[in-house]
Each structure stands twice: as structure tokens, then as C-alpha cells.
Symmetry: C14
Subunit: 94 residues, 14 copies
Amino acid sequence: MDSATYIAIASIITAGLTIAIGSVGPALGEGRAVATALTSVAQQPDAAATITRTLFVGLAMIESVAIYCFVVSMILIFANPFWNSAVAAAAAGH
Amino acid sequence: MDSATYIAIASIITAGLTIAIGSVGPALGEGRAVATALTSVAQQPDAAATITRTLFVGLAMIESVAIYCFVVSMILIFANPFWNSAVAAAAAGH
Amino acid sequence: MDSATYIAIASIITAGLTIAIGSVGPALGEGRAVATALTSVAQQPDAAATITRTLFVGLAMIESVAIYCFVVSMILIFANPFWNSAVAAAAAGH
Amino acid sequence: MDSATYIAIASIITAGLTIAIGSVGPALGEGRAVATALTSVAQQPDAAATITRTLFVGLAMIESVAIYCFVVSMILIFANPFWNSAVAAAAAGH
Amino acid sequence: MDSATYIAIASIITAGLTIAIGSVGPALGEGRAVATALTSVAQQPDAAATITRTLFVGLAMIESVAIYCFVVSMILIFANPFWNSAVAAAAAGH
Amino acid sequence: MDSATYIAIASIITAGLTIAIGSVGPALGEGRAVATALTSVAQQPDAAATITRTLFVGLAMIESVAIYCFVVSMILIFANPFWNSAVAAAAAGH
Amino acid sequence: MDSATYIAIASIITAGLTIAIGSVGPALGEGRAVATALTSVAQQPDAAATITRTLFVGLAMIESVAIYCFVVSMILIFANPFWNSAVAAAAAGH
Amino acid sequence: MDSATYIAIASIITAGLTIAIGSVGPALGEGRAVATALTSVAQQPDAAATITRTLFVGLAMIESVAIYCFVVSMILIFANPFWNSAVAAAAAGH
Amino acid sequence: MDSATYIAIASIITAGLTIAIGSVGPALGEGRAVATALTSVAQQPDAAATITRTLFVGLAMIESVAIYCFVVSMILIFANPFWNSAVAAAAAGH
Amino acid sequence: MDSATYIAIASIITAGLTIAIGSVGPALGEGRAVATALTSVAQQPDAAATITRTLFVGLAMIESVAIYCFVVSMILIFANPFWNSAVAAAAAGH
Amino acid sequence: MDSATYIAIASIITAGLTIAIGSVGPALGEGRAVATALTSVAQQPDAAATITRTLFVGLAMIESVAIYCFVVSMILIFANPFWNSAVAAAAAGH
Amino acid sequence: MDSATYIAIASIITAGLTIAIGSVGPALGEGRAVATALTSVAQQPDAAATITRTLFVGLAMIESVAIYCFVVSMILIFANPFWNSAVAAAAAGH
Amino acid sequence: MDSATYIAIASIITAGLTIAIGSVGPALGEGRAVATALTSVAQQPDAAATITRTLFVGLAMIESVAIYCFVVSMILIFANPFWNSAVAAAAAGH
Amino acid sequence: MDSATYIAIASIITAGLTIAIGSVGPALGEGRAVATALTSVAQQPDAAATITRTLFVGLAMIESVAIYCFVVSMILIFANPFWNSAVAAAAAGH
């Protein structure tokens, strides 16, 4: 088994775990934010516009954390500099 | 056991764990959001339209996190660049 | 023990754990949603139709997460591309 | 120890753990749903019919998650394609 | 140590852990259901018949999950197809 | 160390852990049921007969889960088919 | 180190862990039951007789789970069939 | 290192862990019982006699679980049948 | 490294962990008991004598569990029968 | 496998885990902050401007913690001084 | 590496972990006791003397558990009988 | 693999985990602080100035803990004295 | 690697973990105590003197537990008797 | 790999984990203290001076625990006596 294989395996496992673990927090946080938004709308329907707008800004902030994880996961699969380096080395007759 | 086998095993295990772990957060978050939506509708039936609309937007945001995990899981099974590279290397008489 | 056996073992273990771990979140989330639906119906029987309809949409969203896991589990058992590749290689006199 | 034995061991352990871990979520979720159903009936006896009907639909949804696990567990014990393949290979004088 | 022994050990450990882990969820879920049933009866004695009937249906649903685990555990001890296969192989002069 | 010893060790450890882990859930569930029964009796002494009867049925259901574990534990110690098979094999001059 | 020693070590460790882990659930459950009994007596002193009687029945049920663990622990130390078998085998000039 | 040493080490570690783990549940349970006893006495000083008597019976039940652990721990240190057997064997010129 | 050293190491580690783990439960339990005692005194200063007396009895019961752990810890350090036996054996020119 | 490969693997795994674990806290914290912001707006719509402004400052503070993790993760992938050093050493004919 | 070194390492690690783990429970318990003391004083300033006195007795009891851990930790570092024995053996030309 | 590589790997892993684990506490703490700030502003808009000022001081204190972790993480990556020492040793023809 | 190195490594790791783990409990306990102190002062400003004095005594008690850990940590780094002994042995030409 | 390298690795890992784990407790404790300070100011604006002063004293106490961890972490990186000793030994031609 050559170096590239080790790097491939590490990349696969890390890419999956990154988005898997990274989805727990945002999903729970968004669930909480949405839940209180619904409670608030039911309690004060007149403020629905303000509540909805604040909710969307907040969801965007929380989603951004999940997107960080997704970005790292995608980088590890499709734009992995270590893998590129290993493949280049192998192609150069390392 | 050649390199491709190691990569296949890592891909199988990671694909399963990614969607498995990644389903915990969204499921709990959606459950919470749906639960408060129901409470809110029961408390303020007149705002049902606003509540339902906000709920669906929120569920879509939370579901998107689960879909990130599902996408990574599918990529690892059906469009795995490392596996393709290993298979190509093996076919090239590596 | 040849490559196919390793892949088979990894597939078996992953298929089971995927649906096992993946059932925890949806089951708890659905339990919560159903529970509040019942509370809401008891509190506001007049809104039962709206509540039930919202509940079913929500349950479908949550169930979809469990179904992702079930799909990955079934793919790993019955339509595993890595296993097919290993069996084909073995049949080709690898 | 031949390949079939390894697959048998993995299948045994996975089949047990799948249904064991997979029973935690549904059991807790159903317990919660039944509990609130009882509270709701006590609070609003007139809505007992609606509550009971909604409860049964909800329990069926939650039970379905446990049944996914049971199905995978049974497949691994009695209709395991990997085991069949290994036994066939052994019978073929592997 | 031959193959049958490995399978026997795996079956023993899995059978015990399956029913052990699988008993946690149902026991807690049933405890919760019974607890709220008692609260509900105390709060609304007139609805005792409905509450008790709903409780028994719910307990049966929850108990079914525990019985899945017990069934798998018994199958692994007394009707284990892998063990039968290994014993048959040993008897055939494997 | 022969096969029978391995099976004996696995049986000892599993028998103990089965009843140990399996006692957590039922004990907590029964504690909760008894606790609410006491609260309910104090709140509605007139319904003591109904409450007590419902409590005993519920405790029996929960206790049944603990008894499943105890049965498996006893089977592993005193009626273990794998151990009997190994002892018979050893006696047959294996 | 002969077989009997391995069995002795497994029995010692399992006996201790069985009663140790098995004491957590019953102790917490009994603590909860006693606690609510005290609250109930303080709230409704007239029902003290009924409460105390129900408490003792409940404690007996919970204690029975702890006693299952204690019985298994004692069996493993003083009436262990596997140890007896190993000692007999050693005495027979194994 | 002879057999007796292994048994001694297992006995030491198990004896300590048994009482250590086994003390968590009873201590928490007793803390809860005492706490509610104090609340109840403060709420209903006239029932102090009944409360105190019920408390002592309950504490005795909970303490009994801790004493099971202490007994097993002491047996493992001072009356360990496996250790006695090993020492006797060593003395007999094993 | 001779037998006595192994026994010494096991005794050191176990002695420390026993009192360390064993201190968690009693400390939390006593903290809870003291806390409710203070609340109760503030709520019903007239019953301070009864509350304080009940508190001290309860603290003694909880402390006894911590003392069991301390006793086992001290026995393992200063009156360890296995260590004495090993030292005696070493002195006897084992 | 040379030094650079080890460093690459460590960098990949660490980069993924850093952002994955580091996303849990901020996501939950932001979810909580957004949730109470919505509740507060619904309760006091007149203070919406102050609440929103305070919320954004707070979200920025919390997001900064997630960004620390993202920065470290990016540094490890794209500006890793250890990797650069290893690559330079390899290029220098190490 | 001689016996004394192993004993030294075990003593160092155990001494640190004993006080580290042993500090969690008492610190939380004391925090809870102090917290309720402050609440009680604020609620009933006239009973401040009784509350403070009861608090100090309770803190002493809880602190005693932490001191058990500190004592064992100090004994392991400065008065370790196993270390003394090993040093004496080494000095005696072991 | 030389010493510098080991130190590099340890530095990479530790740098990532330090900021990852170290971000959980501050993020949750800040989330809580911001959340109550919002509640307080909504409840007492007149005290918004005092609340905001106190909030910022508190956030700074909590953020300082996260910054400790970030500083240690940066030191380990860019100003690691052990790495510098190893590189110097390697350059000196170690 | 000589004995002194092993002792140094054990001392370094233990010193860090001791203060790290040992800081969790006191920090949470002090946070709780300070929090209730603030609530109490706000509720009863007239008793601020008594509350503050009681708070400081309580904080000192809780801080003492953290200081135990810090002392053990410092002893392990700067006044470690085992390290001194190992260094002396090495200096003596061990 | 020489002794100094092992000590360097242990120091790096411990330094990072010490401040990482050690930041969880203080951050949560400070978050709680700040949160209640804000609630208290909103509830009793007149006592803002006293509350703020008490808050700062409390934050200082909690921060001190985090600083203990930071100090130990810095000592391990920049003033590590074991590292200095190892470097001196290596310089002395060990």
C-alpha cells in the first residue's frame, strides 16, 4: 500500500465524519430557533414580520457553521492538496 | 489485499456512519420544530397559515443539513474519486 | 481471506449499524411530534384537522431521514458497487 | 478459520446489535407518545376518539423505524447474500 | 480453536448483549407510560376505562420492541443457522 | 486453553453483564411508576384501588423485561447449548 | 496459566461488576420511590397507610432486580458450574 | 508470574471498582430521599414522625444495595475461594 | 518485574480510583441534602431542630458509603492480604 | 511511507475534526441566542431594534469562536508549516 | 526499567487522577449547597444564623470527601509503602 | 521517521484539538449570556445601557478563555520551541 | 529510554490532566454560587452584606478543591520525589 | 527517537489538552454568572452597582481556575524542567 492510498483512506474517513459530526450542532440549533420562532408568532402574530426576518438572519448564521464543515468535507474529497501532491509524486515515478 | 480494497472498506464504513450519525441531529431538530408548530397552531389557530409557512422554511433548512450528509454518503459510494483512481491504477497494471 | 471477504464483513457491520444508529434520532423526534400533537388536539379539538395535517407532513420529513439510513443500509447489502467489483475481479481470476 | 466463519461472526454480532441499539429510540419515543396520549385523554375525554386514532398512526410511524432494524437483523441472519456467496464458494471447492 | 468455537463465543456474547441493551429502552418507555397512566387516572377517575385500554395497547406496542430483541437473542442461542452450518461442517469431517 | 474454556469465559462474562445492564432500565422504570403511583394516591385517595391495580399490571410488564435478561443469564450459566456441545466434544476425545 | 485460572479471573471480575453496575438502577429507583412517598405523606397524611403499603410493594419489586444481580454474583463466586468443571478436570489429571 | 498473582490482581482491581461504582447509585438515591424528607418535614411538621420512620425504612433498603457491593468487595479480598484454591495448589507443589 | 510489583501497581491504581470514583456520588448526594435542608430551614424556621437532626442522620448514612470506599482504599494500601502474601513468598526465597 | 505522508494524514484528520467538533458549541450557542431573541421580540416588540442589535453583536462574538476553528482548519490544509518543511526536505533529497 | 520505576509511574498517575476526579463531586456539591444557602438567606434573612451554621456543617461533611481523596493522593506521593518497599529492595542489592 | 516528524504530528493534532475542544465551553457560555441579555432587555428596556455594558464585559471574560486556547494553538503551529529545537538539531547534522 | 524519562513523561501528562479535569467541578460550582448570589442580592438588596460574606466563604471552600489539584500538579512538576530519586540514581551511575 | 523527543511530544499534547479541557468549566461557569447578573440587573436596576461588583469578584475567582490551567500549559511549553533536564543531558553527551 503506497502513500497515496493512506492519504485517500484518511481523506474518505475524515470527509464523512466532518459533515456527520458537524451536522449535529447546526441541526439542533436551527431546530431550537425555528421552534421558538413558531411559539413567538403564535404569541404575537403582529410581530410576525420582524420575527421571521430575525429568524432568517439567525438561521443563516447557524447554517454557515454547517457550511464550514461541508466545505472542508468537499475540499478533502475533491480539492485535497495532499492527495494532489501524492498523485503527482506517484506520477513522477516516486 | 490491494489498495483498492482498503479504499472500498473505508468508503463503506464511512458512508454508513456519515448518514447514521448525521441523521440524529436533523431528526431531533425537526421533531422539536414540528412539536412546537403543533402547540402553536393549537394555541393560535388564526395564525396557522403563517406558522405552517415558517415551519416549512425551517424544516427545509434543517433537512438541508441531513441532505449534506446524504450527499457525502452517496458520493463516497457511487462517485468516489479515490476509488476511481485506484481502479484506474489497477486497470493500468499497477 | 480474500478482498471480497473483507468487503463483505465491512458491509455487514456497516449496514446494521447504519440503520441502528440512524433509528434513534427519528424515533425520538417522531415520538416528540406525536406527543405534542396529542396534547394539542386535547387542548384545541377544533383545530384537529390542521394539527393532524401538519403532523403528517412533519412525520414524513422526519421519517425521510430514517429512510435515508435504510436506503444506504439496503444499498450496502444488495447493491454494493464495491462488492460487485470484488466479485467480478474474483470471477476474472484475480 | 475460513472466510465463511468471519462472515458468520460479523453477521451474528451485527444482527444482535442492530435490533438492540435500534430498540432504544422507538421504545422511548412510543413511551412518550403513549404517555401524552393518556394525559390528553384524561384532560379532554371527549376527544378520546381523535386522540386514540392519532396515537395509533403515530405509533405505527415510530414502530416502522424499529421494524427497519428488525428487518435488517433478520436479513443478516436468514437471507444474508454475503454468507450465501461464501457458502456457495466453499461448496464449489474454493 | 475451530470455527464452531468462534461462532459459539460470538453467539453467546451477542445474545446476552442484545437482550441487555434492548431492555433499557422498553423498560424506561413502559415506566413512563405507566406513570402517566396513574397520574391520569388520579386526575380523571371517570376516564379510567379509556385510559387503561389505551395504556394496554401502548404497552403492547412497546413490549413488542423488547420481544424483537428477545426473539433475536433466542434465535442466536437455540436456532442459530451459522452454528448449525458449522456443526454440520465439523460432523462432515471438515 | 481449549475451546470449552473460551466458551466458559464468554458465558461467565456475558451472564453477568446481561443481568447487570438489563437491571438498569427496569429498576428506573419501576421506580418512576411507583413514584407516580404514590403521588396519585396522595392526590386522589378514592381511586387508590384503580391506581394500585394499574400499577401492579404495569410493574409486571416492566419486570417481564428484567426477567427476560435473567432468563438469558441463567440459560447461559446452567443450560448453555454451546457449552454442552463443547463438553460433549471433549468427552468424545476431541 | 491453566484454564481454571482464566475462569477464576473472569468469574472474579464479572461477579464484582455485576453487582456494581446492577446496583445503580435499583438504588436510584428506590431513592425516587422513597422520595415521592415522603412528599405524598407530607401532602396527604391521612393516606399514610395506603402510601406506605404501596411503597413497600414497589420497593420489593425494585429490590428484586438488585437481588437478581446479587444472585448471579454469588453463583459466579460460590456455585460456578464452569469452575467446578475446570477443577474436576484438573483433579482428573487433565 | 504464576496463577495466584493473576487472581490477586483481578481481585484487587475488582474489589475496588465494585465498591466505587456501587457507591454512586446509593449515595445519589439516599441524597434524594433525605432531601425530600427535609422538604416534607418543613412543609408538614406534624407528620414528622411518620416521615422520619418511612425515611429510615427507605434508607435501609437503599443502603442494602450498597452493602451488597461492600460484601462482594470484602469477599473478594478476605474470603476469595479462587485465591484460596490457588494458594492451596501452590502449597501443594503445583 | 516480579509478582509483588504487579500486585503493588494494581493496589496503587485501584486504591486511588476507588476513593476518587467513590467520592462523586456521596459528595453530590450530601450537597443535595444540605441544599434542601437550607431551603427547608428558611421556609419553616420553627422546625429547624427536626430538620437539622434528620439532616445529620441522613448525612451519616450517605457518608457511610464514602467511608466504605475509603476503607477499601486504605485496606488496599496498608493491609493488603495479597501483598503480604507476595512479600512473604519473596522473603521465603520464592 | 515517508515523513511527509504521516504529516499529511495527521493534517487531514485534524483539519476535519477541528471544524467538526468546533461547530457543535457555536451552533448550539447561536441557536439559543436566536431563540431568545425571537421570544424577546414577541414579548416586547417596541424594543426590537435594541434586541436585534444586541443579538448581532452576540452572534458575532459566538461566530468568532467557530471562525477560530475554521482558520486553524484552513491553516492545516493550505498553509501548514510542518508540511512545507517536510516537502522542502523531500525536495532537498532528504 | 526496574520495578521501582513502574511503581513510581503508577503512583504519579494515580495521585493526579485521584484528586482530579475526586474534586468534581465535592466542588459541585458545595456549589449547590452554597447556592441554596444564598437563596435561603435572601428569602429569610432572620434565619441567617441557623442557615449559616447548617451550611458550614454541611460544607465540612462534603469537604471531608475531597480530603479523603487528597489524603490518598498525598500518601501515594510521600508515604507510599509499596515505593518504600521497592526502594529498600533496590538498596539491598536486589 | 525522525524526531522532528513525530513532533510535527503531535503539534498538528494537538493544535487542532485544542481550539476544537476549547471552543465548546465559550460558545455555549456566550450563547447563554447573550440569550439572557436579550431576555433582560425585553423585560426592562430602560436598563438596556447597563445590561449591554455588563454583557460586553462578561463576553470579554468568556472570550478570553477561548483566546487562551487559540493562543496555545497558534504557539504550537508557528512558535513551537520543541519543533525549533528539533529542526536546529537536524540542521546541526544530528 | 531510561527510567527518568518514563517518570518525566508520566509526570508531565498527569500534571496537566490533574489541573485540567480538576478545574471543571470548581468552575461550575463557583459559577452556580455566584449566579445565585446575584439573584439573591437582586431579590433582597438589604441582605447584601450577609449574602456577600456567605458567598466569599463558600467560594473559598470550593476554590480550595481546585487548589488541591493545583498543588498536586505543581508538586508533580517541581517537587516530584520519584523524579528526584530517579535523577539521583542516574547521577550515582546507576 | 531519543528521550528529549518523547518528553517534547508529551509536553505538546498535554499543554494543549490542559487548556482545552480546562476551558470548558470556567467558560460555562462564567456564562452562567453573567447570565444571572443580567437577569438580576433587569429585575432590580437599583442594585446594579452591588450586582456588578459581586459579579466581577466572582468572575475573577472563576477565571483564576482557567488561569491555573493556562499557567500549567505555559510552564509545560516554555519552562518545562523535565525538558530542560533532558536537553542538558543531551548536551552533556549523554
